[in-house]
């Protein structure tokens, strides 16, 4: 069972497309809209982005693989579909 966590922004169309990708392929995933989150959550995600050397959304974690930016081919590859 794949574990998928996605960090997104409510204002970002690419984040929307990312969520749609998983929905359309009927793959369950968890997402957090960074901009709608409380301060402790924002700080935690912020630290994670910094640790990964990244400063943009969508930020997709499929098991241990991190994919930044809307990259549907890479999602498919990571999921083996």
């Amino acid at each position: 069972m794949n574990k998928i966590i996605v960090y997104t922004l409510s204002t970002c169309p690419w984040c929307r497309k990312t969520k749609n990708f998983f929905n359309e392929h009927k793959i369950s995933f968890t997402y957090i809209d960074y901009d709608m989150s409380d301060e402790p959550t924002q700080r935690r995600i912020s630290q994670e982005l910094d640790a990964a050397g990244v400063n943009s959304f969508p930020y997709v974690k499929i098991n241990n693989e991190v994919i930044v930016g809307y990259q549907p081919e890479r999602y498919s590859k990571a999921l083996g579909i």
């Binding site: 169309p13 984040c15 901009d35 400063n55 943009s56 959304f57 930044v68 930016g69």
Partner: protein, 117 residues
């Protein structure tokens, strides 16, 4: 704005378009030819400006640190020049290189994944 101090989104989009065009054209960029995307992103920026007083990029995180946040004020091209020149677009896709005709073909790649020739 109406008397209630609420901004008219279309009016604000129009003025942002005016200001941004003058800034990005000398940098070799233009608004994306995808009008739906352009309108959507400009609307998000008006919303962000309403929330924070500044039109930030709709696709990058606010760190609540002025020095970092200034780097994602639209148009943020000067702060990400090499990256955006490499992918021929800015991160959210509001702007693309002036010669781009099909913005859908431009992948959204982070700096680490861009092939540098």
């Amino acid at each position: 704005m109406s008397k209630c101090g609420v901004v008219n989104i279309e009016s604000r989009k129009k003025s942002l378009h005016y200001f941004f065009e003058k800034l990005v054209v000398p940098l070799g960029f233009k608004f994306t030819p995808d009008k739906n995307m352009m309108n959507f992103l400009l609307k998000q920026e008006v919303i962000l400006e309403g929330r924070h007083g500044i039109p930030f990029c709709p696709c990058q995180p606010l760190r609540h640190d002025r020095a970092r946040d200034m780097q994602i004020v639209c148009p943020c091209i000067p702060f990400h020049r090499k990256h955006f020149d490499d992918i021929k677009r800015c991160w959210c896709g509001l702007f693309v290189h002036k010669d781009v005709l099909d913005p859908d073909k431009l992948p959204q790649l982070p700096p680490k994944e861009v092939n540098n020739e």
